[in-house]
């Protein structure tokens, strides 16, 4: 009898050991926990050190910005309460909202703002342009900061409200004192979520808790601007690399949102019970083909123009995306649907014209030098583009040497200025969010400073001069006119070729509502779960 009791007790003990957690964990109601699968692994946490979108999106969780872009693309005050501009346009005074507080309990001060902006400007192109206008930043009191400009500048608000990488996030001055070339070690912001550093496992999970002290604006939420109501106590970013596993996890209800499901799953997702498809970034993305201006044959403008004539956008977007609802041809270098878009693109029609391209190629004296075209085999977002380009360029008479490599090899090789037969290249492809290339000052491809410019190293002082003029021009028609002049030069010099636009919708559980349409950033505020 006694032995039987002992056996029962042993079984109970073992069973308890099996089912009891090692440590008691707080259990939150299911609708207060949100699980999100980002488009990439969150490895780097410093949004100034890297331009990676996944890091930018992480930063929007924990940091706040001085200004933000609303759903219509207008810049609205966020941390700033009010601002004034002197009559001569050279002094800008900003007042911070009262009561702003970092996650460590310290108040947000003008010193923090000044230090954060300096660090941002040391890395960001648009920040660098803004700071080239700034003579000094004054901080007369804890809630006030002032820009003293050398001359009037039209891009102050656009730069401070820049929505995409690098974004001028505000962090404590002691952290912002880290040089922009080094990663910060603490991740303390004043945004709507607090980063749980102790639960962060790169490649696995990043955890955020609701910031109960967050001072949300009273205005209605619009894009990235306005109020930021948080309906979850805990948000987990779950890193799932495999697209099929992402799909399965969403279907099984293990995650609530997959940021970028693959295009191949689009139709299945729309038909899956308990899952819906929505779009937080209606402006979308643009594919681009970039020439290397340093070496033959693309050091000849006519040969570059011939290549642009050979390109037909529809084939690129059909092959790479393949879903008519999600793509559109767009000849403008500023994405269609954004304020500066202009489809007046002279000879570039976006429709393949191999006959005309062949004629121009002959006129330019193309000697049959093979074009070294780089194809990233592991980057599904753009891996099919080079295959289409090869076919279209060959149809126009080009000889193409398609070289396959992984993305890490490609980005290393595209930085090489040597001739293609010595490890260099002639052509590569990439994709940009609309926000990154919506302005001449933020678009890396419009960096035409030659050897110190962007990969491809176009040396075109006229573009640089127009960019400087753009920064000084009044917003509206005047800036739009200059942007169009820049575009005309881009096509005249055949700097690069736009290959069409696409959207990449997100997939959510059906019980999730309130997703905001933003400038390409998936935000966790405004969302709720039934």
């Amino acid at each position: 009898m006694r032995r039987s009791w002992l056996k029962v007790m042993a079984v109970v003990l073992v069973a308890s050991w099996l089912v009891m957690p090692a440590q008691a964990q707080n259990t939150l109601p299911a609708n207060k926990v949100f699980r999100f699968v980002p488009h990439a692994n969150l490895a780097v946490l410093d949004p100034i050190w890297t331009t990676a979108y996944v890091t930018r999106n992480h930063a929007y969780m924990i940091y706040d910005t001085l200004f933000s872009e609303d759903a219509k693309g207008n810049i609205q005050a966020q941390m700033v309460q009010s601002y004034t501009t002197a009559k001569d346009g050279k002094t800008w005074t900003f007042k911070l909202r009262a009561g702003l507080e970092f996650h460590d309990g310290k108040p947000v001060t003008s010193e923090d703002v000044a230090a954060s902006l300096k660090r941002w400007a040391s890395r960001d192109a648009m920040g660098g342009i803004l700071f080239s206008f700034i003579d000094k930043i004054e901080t007369p009191d804890a809630n006030t900061f002032r820009f003293i400009l050398k001359e009037p500048c039209a891009i102050v608000l656009d730069a401070l409200g820049k929505a995409s990488s690098n974004v001028p996030f505000i962090m404590p001055a002691r952290i912002a004192a880290t040089p922009g070339t080094e990663q910060i070690k603490e991740h303390i912001g004043s945004g709507p979520f607090i980063f749980k550093a102790d639960e962060f496992k790169p490649g696995s999970v990043a955890v955020y808790l609701r910031n109960s002290k967050y001072l949300s604006r009273k205005e209605a939420t619009s894009g990235l601007a306005g109020g930021r109501p948080v309906n979850f106590e805990r948000v987990e970013w779950v890193i799932i690399r495999d697209p099929q596993t992402q799909f399965n996890a969403l279907q099984a209800g293990e995650v609530d949102m997959v940021e970028q499901p693959s295009f191949e799953q689009y139709e299945s997702l729309k038909k899956t019970a308990g899952v819906k498809v929505d779009d937080f970034s209606p402006a979308g993305y643009q594919y681009v083909m970039r020439f290397n201006h340093l070496h033959a044959p693309f050091n000849n403008v006519k040969i570059r123009q011939a290549a642009m004539l050979a390109i037909g956008q529809q084939a690129f977007i059909n092959t790479q995306v393949g879903i008519p609802d999600l793509v559109r041809a767009c000849r403008s270098i500023y994405p269609c649907g954004t304020p500066l878009a202009d489809e007046n693109t002279s000879y570039f029609t976006g429709v393949a014209n191999p006959v005309k391209a062949r004629e121009l190629l002959k006129e330019a004296g193309y000697d049959g030098t093979p074009i070294v075209m780089m194809r990233p085999t592991d980057l599904s977002a753009i891996t099919k583009l080079p295959l289409v380009a090869k076919q279209q360029l060959e149809a126009a008479g080009f000889k193409v040497d398609l070289q396959q490599m992984d993305w890490a090899s490609l980005v290393a090789r595209r930085a090489k200025k040597e001739p293609p037969n010595q490890g260099g290249w002639n052509l590569f492809f990439t994709t940009w969010t609309a926000q990154d290339i919506g302005s001449p000052l933020s678009s890396a491809m419009l960096n035409a400073k030659g050897a110190t410019g962007w990969f491809g190293w176009q040396d075109e002082p006229r573009i640089e001069a127009l960019k400087a003029k753009f920064a000084r021009a009044h917003e509206g028609p005047e800036q739009k006119k200059i942007a169009s002049e820049i575009q005309a030069l881009v096509f005249e010099t055949a700097a690069f070729a736009p290959l069409g636009q696409y959207r990449n919708p997100t997939a959510l559980r059906s019980n999730v509502s309130g997703m905001l349409q933003t400038a390409g950033v998936p935000v966790m505020w405004g969302l709720s779960k039934n």
């Binding site: 596993t245 279907q251 890490a408 290393a412 595209r414």
Partner: protein
């Protein structure tokens, strides 16, 4: 015994040194530049050059290797270019999921495959033997990811008995219950275990059937020893050396197998760390991992060699 172990351990050092040199050279001479990956799409060549300089990648290879080796000797595997964390810490952090997956798979494979292989050898040509042969062919032929998706579809999506993905640690602040841990790993164990069950069962069947045809088995049976004792004490015991060898090789091969399984089941182990490090050209992490895997491989081989001493008394003499 002690001198045997010492000799074997000393022999490992040159192997590890050669591995470290080869890996270092392959990484540095292969295409790809961590600085270019870190710099991102907006960078210029100048930005990349600055990052290269900060990472010390502009130094000559001998100097880079010397610095790295000097630190390794002191137990410092360096810092990840990306994560800014010590490589040793990253490996330690990811060890539990990978060990859980690999050792659980090995245990499952041994527990299932050895009895099955033994029984198949005992009743050669019977239904069990034929079924095992068919299973082995299928186990070797079907890719791991196909098995994984099939299991997920049936047990996680249709029946909803088990989770699709993830890992619940046994230890630490986020630890769950033992059942939580087991539940997350059942499908990965089955996925990865299939090929190893096939491998070990085939080897067990072949070894035991060979032993069963030996004279000493006939003698044992003639002495009237029971069939089960003949099978276990005489046949299986004498077939143990090749079986243990293949189990050792199988465990070492698991290191490669966990990469695919961890990716499909989103398990944050050493496999996914390796994939990320390779894709980002995170040299210190790759070098640290290869060194770790090499040490593991060597240790497993050593354990297998030591086990021979116990399994086969002739080797001791």
């Amino acid at each position: 015994m002690a001198s045997f172990l010492l000799r074997r351990l000393l022999a490992v050092l040159p192997v590890l040194w050669v591995v470290s040199v080869v890996v270092f050279l392959i990484l540095r001479l292969a295409p790809g530049d961590p600085a270019a990956v870190i710099a991102g799409n907006n960078a210029t060549s100048e930005d990349i050059a600055n990052i290269r300089s900060q990472l010390g990648l502009d130094r000559n290879l001998v100097s880079q290797y010397g610095i790295w080796l000097g630190k390794v000797v002191q137990g410092d595997l360096g810092y990840s270019y990306y994560l800014g964390k010590p490589v040793l810490e990253l490996i330690t952090q990811r060890m539990e999921p990978s060990l859980s997956l690999a050792l659980g798979t090995a245990l499952l494979a041994v527990c299932v495959a050895v009895p099955l292989g033994t029984l198949a050898a005992w009743r050669m040509g019977g239904w069990l033997d034929r079924s095992l042969s068919a299973f082995s062919v299928a186990g070797f032929s079907v890719p791991v990811f196909v098995i994984a998706y099939a299991l997920i579809y049936v047990f996680a999506i249709r029946l909803q008995w088990l989770p699709v993905q993830g890992y619940k640690p046994l230890f630490g602040a986020q630890a769950g219950s033992v059942w939580d841990w087991v539940r997350q790993l059942i499908l990965p164990w089955l996925t990865l275990g299939t090929i190893y069950i096939a491998l070990i069962a085939r080897m067990t069947r072949a070894s035991v059937s060979e032993a069963l045809s030996e004279d000493y088995i006939r003698t044992a049976r003639a002495k009237g020893i029971g069939e089960m004792a003949v099978l276990l004490r005489h046949a299986l015991a004498n077939a143990a050396v090749p079986i243990v060898t293949v189990i050792g090789i199988g465990v070492a091969l698991l290191i490669g197998g966990v990469v695919v399984t961890e990716t499909v089941y989103a398990i944050p182990g050493l496999g996914s760390l390796t994939v990320d490090a390779v894709l980002n050209r995170d040299f210190p992490v790759i070098q640290g991992l290869v060194l770790f895997f090499s040490c593991s491989y060597v240790c497993i081989n050593l354990l297998v060699d030591v086990s021979y001493l116990f399994l086969d008394p002739r080797i001791r003499h």
